[in-house]
């Protein structure tokens, strides 16, 4: 995976099922998701509509819903699913290693 590096986020059990957690790294904020069936994903941490922290939103199925205006995005593809969310979220790869969730963030220049 070129141009990115794995960083340690948290113990997998620190993220509840059907929930989202904020993760900050190198002055960038991310949102890390865990769906009801235990899958992990991650995206940029601010809603593309009004820059609200998605960590205050809610995971409903495979969708993250922004707490301010109900903007919705697919947690795996980042696809915006309707107004006022019209610009997709940037998503990032995740992996679980030895019980720890890791996130692929852009490598420093």
């Amino acid at each position: 995976m070129t141009g990115s590096q794995w960083v340690d986020v948290a113990d997998v059990d620190d993220i509840e099922l059907d929930d989202v957690m904020r993760f900050d790294h190198a002055e960038v904020t991310y949102a890390v998701y865990r769906t009801a069936d235990g899958r992990f994903s991650a995206s940029q941490g601010l809603c593309t509509h009004a820059q609200v922290h998605l960590c205050d939103g809610f995971v409903i199925g495979d969708v993250i819903e922004c707490p301010k205006h109900n903007g919705r995005f697919d947690v795996f593809s980042g696809r915006a699913k309707g107004a006022p969310a019209v610009t997709d979220l940037r998503v990032f790869a995740t992996r679980v290693l030895d019980g720890r969730l890791q996130l692929a963030v852009p490598a420093p220049d």
Binding site: D18, D19, H49, A50, G57, F58, I60, E65, P67, K68, H69, N70, R72, K81, G82, A83, P84, V86
Partner: protein, 354 residues
């Protein structure tokens, strides 16, 4: 001979337009897309409250359609007799007023768990309540960002000083529907109004234009049908109910924010919750819990009463019924017609952080 208005009246009359000086003033004061106070709720409890289900909305929508069908049928067969009056009165409210709460909840995407059901109900409700669906979705988004912030909120229903005549006229939708007809007519020829442009992204212009044309085409079709049939009856079912049936939108809608503080970042100071009976709550789809809804728009209608129980201790006292809330609203609006600076102070147990 002209007489200049008193200086005090000039100073107190603000410009509510989205393209006027108040827009920039609100931005300078840090009121645009600001942080709003929220009564605390444990995260685990919030996750329960925001959970979506299809069942309650399917049930209520089927009931609504059944009532529309029943009252509409009675009105049709009673046409030509005095029995048509009460039948159309009921049909009109179900069409022209109940559609407002369905438009609202489905517009938030919280009525159903299934997205396409929200979309369908949103479009049906939009047409009945006489609102072009694309522009109003974005208008309502702005209303949630900047609730009753002068110069930013496109949905301030009652500016100050109170425009009493306009409120009375709007009981029949004369003001709102005329404005919307003008806006849709402009959109239909590709012209987005300057006000609309302050909240509608350019990428949405084609969709707004398309839906304005669809709504106008349906309304025009109903007009042609009436003319061809030589009777107003088709319009009594499509289009005109948005006028003669609109009065309940106003009665409910004024309870939301009318007369309360402007330019504050705490919904407890500019939004009301009114306890209502189950019939009114069905018609209004629990939008009477309006303060809770503004604080937490992710909570669907069927969980708003539960949310109210969670945070009631942190809110101003509720109003009991329409009579209770209008005991405040009517004298408040009457007073603000002459003195726009007059306000009610609502007791709070805690203040929002500065």
């Amino acid at each position: 001979m002209t007489i200049d208005p008193p200086v005090e009246a000039t100073v107190l009359r603000r410009d509510y337009s989205l393209t006027g000086p108040e827009h920039a003033l609100a931005e300078e004061r840090g009121l645009e897309s600001a942080e709003w106070y929220r009564s605390p709720v444990p995260r685990a409890r919030m996750k329960q409250l925001v959970a979506r289900r299809d069942g309650p909305a399917i049930r209520d929508t089927l009931i609504w359609f059944a009532l529309l069908g029943a009252s509409g049928s009675m009105a049709f067969f009673a046409w030509g007799t005095w029995w048509a009056v009460p039948a159309f009165a009921v049909y009109g409210v179900l069409y022209g007023s109940v559609s407002d709460s369905r438009w609202h909840e489905a517009g938030h995407g919280t009525a159903f768990r299934t997205p396409w059901m929200n979309t369908w109900l949103y479009h049906i409700g939009s047409f009945m309540v006489w609102r072009e669906p694309v522009s109003w979705r974005w208008s309502h988004t702005r209303h949630h960002s900047d609730t009753i912030i002068v110069g930013l909120d496109p949905e301030i229903a009652v500016p100050k000083p109170t425009p009493r005549l306009l409120i009375v006229l709007d009981l029949l939708g004369i003001v709102s529907n005329w404005r919307e007809l003008r806006k849709m007519s402009a959109s239909s020829v590709g012209r987005i109004t300057p006000s609309e442009a302050t909240y509608l992204p350019e990428t949405e212009y084609p969709a707004a234009i398309r839906w304005a044309r669809i709504h106008l085409a349906i309304l025009a079709g109903a007009c042609v049908w009436s003319i061809a049939a030589g009777t107003i009856l088709p319009l009594m079912f499509i289009g005109l109910p948005s006028f003669y049936g609109r009065w309940l939108v106003m009665v409910f809608g004024l309870t939301q924010h009318a007369g309360l503080d402007e330019d504050v970042l705490d919904h407890r100071r500019n939004t009301r919750t009114v306890l209502m009976n189950p019939v009114l709550r069905f018609l209004y789809w629990n939008m009477n819990y309006h303060l809770e809804h503004h604080m937490y728009p992710n909570v669907p209608f069927h969980a708003l009463a539960d949310l109210h129980e969670e945070i009631a201790d942190d809110l101003p006292p509720v109003y009991h019924g329409l009579s209770g809330v209008y005991r405040e609203i009517l004298p408040l609006l009457r007073r603000q017609a002459k003195d726009p600076s007059y306000r009610v102070v609502r007791p709070l147990r805690s203040e929002a952080p500065a």
